[in-house]
Symmetry: C2
Subunit: 251 residues, 2 copies
């Protein structure tokens, strides 16, 4: 199977990492809209418009499936994309909810959803969590984590004071949904902040779990073809991807 | 005179504030490219392309002069915009340099330039400072200030630890060029960090100084017409502008 992965920027590489670890696909086409990143501070009309433009790009490839790695796109534009796509389109919100349900069997569990301003404003996670019977959910826009992570500050004073700013008035959560592709990069710091006593839900892992349930994968692909595209500076994205995903040269 | 003010987002309102205080213009047209903000993390080709699109927008109005309030646009796209504009186009870099020269008469003065990643990478300020004889310049990309300011955190732990991160290894500067329209909002915190012993150069004030030198203003305009446009959610920008600039209803 050939899969497309769409993200507003480089964050979706956390999802690609999970796809590669599980060797699910024969070919992966990645597109990051780096010229217009970030989406998480923009409004619904803009997010839908940009997502449909990305969809047109993916129509140039014969993919079987498109994953929107970006939580903000998944929260706002999935329906519109599905209406115009000749292939399946899967977001990260629904898989995240299923993974949460599997990880936290008690529906009284205290669930904390972290995301960008737009993702949290959509209430996409809260609505689906409520539908699954979770009645103790807190959603918190923690957008400042994105530029801090992009600055490479995965530890240290700035991250610590930002976590304190966002988390200090919250009850201790049982589970945290990392509702932005960037957040897995500070997973260790977040777990540490909550005294190593919290379960994290990661979009990449959730997507793999979802795919393995809903699609049939007949063989493992040890050396998938993978191509990276970006709306600006694709070389920079390729460089990050190759270093970070430990890939051989592009094929 | 009728002026256009172009910025990547809402930051250029710091420049509008200075224009209004000095009552220079009869009419002000503001455009913020909020659908594609921020520019400061993008590359030259993208910045030039977006700036030329904004220029087309301003051609719909009979303006006498266009001010690019955004330092990143001023550093990268001024020449290209001037080549296609039927009116004068003024950036904030050159006025900032002149204001620095006026404020710091000693060319041995230690000058610190703060800006986004793109502005600092352009070396626009350093090059012009060197041409004016300043030989003791440090330029520092402090892009994380932008989202912190947009989060409204003008004081507190996050800002303090971010200033410490960026400033701790620097010599004490005599003057600081605030090379991003957002930075005047944390001017007090920056001055305080440097023990109230530093001169700040602010783009809005520098532009006014420059305009008064290069153009003839025959009368003051107490109640200029002012119109705000944005590439997404113009209502949000208008609301910020009206609150912040203390304006009456739009005319």
């Amino acid at each position: 199977m050939k899969v497309g992965v769409f993200d507003s920027g480089i964050g979706g590489l956390t999802v690609v990492k999970s796809l590669l670890e599980h060797q699910l696909f024969e070919e992966i086409i990645y597109f990051g809209d780096t010229a217009r990143v970030p989406y998480g501070v923009k409004d619904k009309n803009t997010i839908v418009r940009y997502s449909l433009e990305a969809l047109e790009f993916f129509k140039n490839f014969e993919i079987d499936l498109l994953i929107t790695a970006c939580n903000t796109v998944s929260a706002y534009a999935l329906e519109e994309m599905r209406a115009q796509a000749p292939f399946d389109v899967i977001g990260v919100v629904e898989p995240g909810i299923i993974a949460t349900k599997n990880a936290l069997t008690n529906s009284d569990a205290n669930v904390l959803v972290l995301g960008t301003q737009a993702t949290i404003a959509s209430k996409a996670y809260e609505t689906l969590l409520a539908a699954k019977g979770f009645n103790n959910t807190t959603a918190k826009a923690t957008g400042l984590f994105v530029p801090i992570i992009e600055e490479g500050l995965f530890t240290g004073e700035i991250l610590e004071s930002t976590m304190e700013h966002y988390f200090k008035d919250l009850d201790h959560p049982d589970g945290i949904i990392l509702g932005c592709t960037h957040f897995p990069l500070i997973a260790d710091a977040i777990v540490d902040y909550f005294n190593n006593n919290v379960i994290l839900i990661h979009s990449g892992e959730a997507i793999v779990e979802y795919l393995e349930t809903h699609y049939e994968f007949t063989q493992k692909h040890h050396e998938p073809k993978i191509k990276f595209f970006a709306s600006e500076n694709p070389e920079a994205l390729r460089k990050v991807a190759h270093n970070w995903l430990d890939l051989p040269d592009e094929k």
